[in-house]
């Protein structure tokens, strides 16, 4: 089913476009949130203590965005001697390629140009490059897609790095950032792989942080959502001087807890949902040429409804609300 409000939203945007108005541009910036405030210290901790951790969070919480911010803080820099140096490298698990070689190439690409070498040689070269660059932490994003061969390679890589740094005693930490749909560890594919009793995974398990190797980072609470909304309010105050988003904090939190959006398990909302809600609402307000949101919050609420019913119904594009089917049938008979 499609409500008139939903079709009104899309048609409003299209009408604005036809009228020659510039489309609304979402400002894609890193927003410090409660989630990133929890994840960043974890990464710092792993960097300082060379800990091995499996860090889980829900999809859309902002893991990759926070990781990019962390990498920007620890960017690799080239010295006067031409050598690239830094603390951290991060790589995504190569999609569709479960071999250890694919992961080695993905890691080598983070340090610069990758030569066309035999894989055995490239692995040696990668260890040398990591050692020379002084890397102390490797972060693997989307680690739930890791295979057993890749887990073993990570173990081998860090061991070789440790051997190379035997004099200084410096070790290399490892953080595996994975998606977890629920708080049940049995649902976590990476942890299922690690906790198998076979010898290779056991060796990997031995290297993980002793007491708490599996960490779940929570999403945004209502209070943290308010701070995020305040930040967005500041970001868009030049185009929407009368935005006043924070007054809708409790309502937005309640709407986003709908089980069809974020699930109400832990009473927390995801950053991606907040962004989708705001983007849709601000785009509509921009198309209508408003200075802020409507006073009764109708636009926000309708956007939340659209999020909840997302993908379950068509959005009809036309010059008005769609006709009820019975009226069309009656006209045809007449």
């Amino acid at each position: 089913m499609t409500t008139p409000a939903e079709s009104d939203h899309l048609n409003t945007l299209l009408a604005s476009r036809r009228a020659g108005r510039e489309p609304f541009r979402w400002r894609n910036r890193y927003i410090p949130s409660g989630f990133s405030a929890r994840l960043l210290p974890l990464l710092d901790h792993a960097l300082e203590t060379a800990t091995w951790l499996v860090v889980c969070a829900r999809s859309g919480d902002g893991k990759s965005t926070t990781l990019r911010h962390f990498l920007a803080q620890h960017a690799l820099r080239r010295g006067a001697d031409g050598v690239l140096r830094g603390d951290v490298i991060a790589s995504r698990v190569p999609v569709g390629r479960g071999s250890a070689d694919a992961l080695a190439v993905a890691l080598a690409e983070q340090l610069g140009a990758v030569p066309n070498l035999r894989m055995a040689r490239l692995r040696q070269v990668l260890v040398g490059s990591l050692h020379r660059a002084g890397i102390s932490l490797i972060v693997i994003d989307d680690a739930h897609e890791l295979t057993l061969a890749q887990l073993n390679y990570l173990r081998e890589l860090t061991d070789m790095l440790k051997d190379m740094r035997r004099d200084s005693g410096a070790e290399c930490g490892l953080v595996l950032l994975a998606v977890a749909a629920t708080t049940n560890t049995a649902d976590q594919p990476l942890w299922k792989l690690i906790s198998r009793s076979k010898l290779p995974t056991e060796q990997f398990d031995n290297r993980l942080d002793g007491a708490s190797p599996l960490v779940m980072v929570e999403s945004l609470s209502e209070h943290e959502l308010g701070r995020v909304l305040a930040t967005y309010q500041r970001i868009y105050e030049d185009v929407f001087p009368d935005l006043r988003l924070t007054r809708w904090t409790r309502s937005i939190h309640g709407w986003l807890l709908d089980e069809r959006i974020d699930g109400a398990e832990r009473g927390r909302v995801r950053m991606r949902s907040v962004r989708r809600l705001l983007e849709a609402t601000l785009a509509e307000a921009w198309a209508l040429g408003m200075d802020g949101l409507d006073p009764d919050g109708r636009m926000l609420h309708q956007a939340a409804i659209r999020l909840a019913t997302r993908g379950n119904a068509y959005s009809f594009v036309g010059y008005g609300p769609p006709e009820p089917p019975m009226a069309a049938l009656a006209r045809e008979r007449a």
Binding site: L84, E109, G112, A113, P115, L117, R121, R132
Partner: protein, 428 residues
């Protein structure tokens, strides 16, 4: 490479050293990154669809199989710095845009100075030039083989940089062979000539060299260079000079300073290029003035009538007391006249000895026998040295027969026979 499609830099990106060659630069970067030899060169040559393994040495040192812009991106340095590691730019200045590896002459195998490798992993861009066989800096012979006699091949799978690809011996461990004496001198001249021609050469340099060297100049001293076959073999008749190497070899063997090509290319004609000797019949005229190179950037000239020499507007030597110059003391004129008298006597004696010995009187041989400097200003007509030799030549039973081309010879014969060119008397 567009700005949006920038190639990634190397984990360790070393920039070129001054006067470093492209091969050395690639090998240094390979070593710094822990890669096998030629990995970077292959990476860059694959981008241009080529393969370094199939490239000739000439193409390698010219950089024609490389996308130099891609190499600059990988090393994060300006393209100019990378181009300076090749010989492309000087060759383009000399021979135009259509640069061919043959313009270098036949480039030999890879040659390295073991001391340069040991000190700084340096392979200069000049070391691969055909006539350069030694490092003038360390006075070493360039090595082409390792201590066990293996050629210094670069391209073998998994060969380590700066090591023999066959036995793995470091190039820095090859025992250097010291050179000295005439060989070192000849190599210094070769390197100097290459540097001057490559730095200052332009489109008209080859034509200018043909004019300056001429047939007689190019062929002189040929006997003295018999020991340096690898240089003397490249010497050519000036009109056949085609490559940079034949140009340099001809200059070196003829013992013509390479600067002369460029000094004479712009003769300092003008108000200062006149004879300032008041006693000379060509006083205040430029009819008989000739350039004599440059000294400290000031053009030197001489008058082939009176033998006076000038540096810019200053008279630096003259044989006439009444030359009217305030730059020259009478004492120095008297000394010059006394020296001239000795030279005349020595030349006359040398002519007499040559005739007695049955030699053909050639002016160069006579001056050498008389130990008279072969300076051009001493052959001025008023000084009488050249006239003395010519007089003895006329009296000699062995007249000097001038070399003529077949066409000129035919003209002479036909003139003597009284028939025109192309007549029956012209020998074919």
């Amino acid at each position: 490479v567009s700005a949006s499609d920038r190639l990634p830099m190397l984990p360790v990106a070393l920039r070129p050293l001054p006067d470093e060659g492209l091969s050395g630069l690639c090998l240094r970067n390979d070593e710094a990154n822990g890669w096998p030899a030629d990995t970077l060169a292959r990476m860059v040559s694959h981008l241009s669809g080529g393969d370094i393994g199939f490239a000739s040495p000439g193409q390698t040192i010219l950089g024609t199989v490389f996308r130099l812009d891609a190499l600059a991106e990988h090393l994060g340095c300006p393209l100019d710095e990378i181009e300076a590691t090749t010989l492309m730019r000087p060759l383009r200045r000399l021979f135009g845009d259509d640069v061919d590896p043959r313009r270098l002459g036949s480039v030999g195998p890879l040659r390295v100075c073991p001391t340069c490798i040991a000190e700084s992993r340096f392979i200069g861009r000049e070391t691969i030039l055909p006539l350069v066989r030694s490092c003038v800096e360390h006075q070493n012979l360039l090595a082409v083989e390792c201590s066990r006699g293996h050629r210094l091949a670069r391209s073998r799978p998994d060969a380590e940089p700066f090591r023999c690809a066959t036995c793995g011996e470091p190039w820095s461990h090859i025992r250097p062979i010291q050179i000295s004496g005439p060989y070192l001198l000849s190599q210094r001249r070769v390197v100097h000539a290459y540097r001057v021609v490559m730095e200052r050469g332009g489109e008209d340099t080859v034509a200018r060299a043909r004019a300056v060297l001429g047939k007689n100049v190019a062929l002189r001293w040929s006997g003295a260079w018999a020991a340096h076959r690898h240089i003397a073999d490249y010497r050519l008749q000036p009109r056949y000079i085609y490559s940079l190497t034949s140009l340099v070899a001809t200059l070196v063997v003829a013992e013509v300073p390479p600067e002369r090509l460029f000094d004479e290319a712009s003769p300092p004609r003008g108000p200062s290029f006149i004879c300032r000797n008041r006693a000379c019949p060509t006083f205040d005229r430029s009819d008989s003035m000739h350039s004599n190179g440059r000294r400290a950037e000031t053009p030197e000239s001489y008058c082939d009538a009176c033998g006076s020499r000038f540096l810019g507007a200053r008279t630096i030597s003259s044989f006439d007391v009444g030359n009217g110059s305030s730059d020259l003391s009478p004492l120095s004129v008297y000394r010059a006249r006394a020296r001239l008298a000795r030279f005349r006597e020595a030349v006359a004696a040398a002519c007499r000895l040559s005739i007695d010995a049955g030699d053909v009187l050639r002016i160069a041989d006579v001056l050498e026998r008389a130990r008279v400097p072969r300076a051009a200003y001493l052959r001025a007509s008023r000084l009488g040295i050249a006239d003395t030799v010519h007089a003895w030549q006329r009296a000699s039973p062995h007249p000097v027969r001038r070399w003529r081309s077949p066409a000129a010879e035919a003209r002479v014969v036909s003139t003597k026979a009284g028939s025109g060119p192309g007549g029956d008397a012209v020998p074919r």
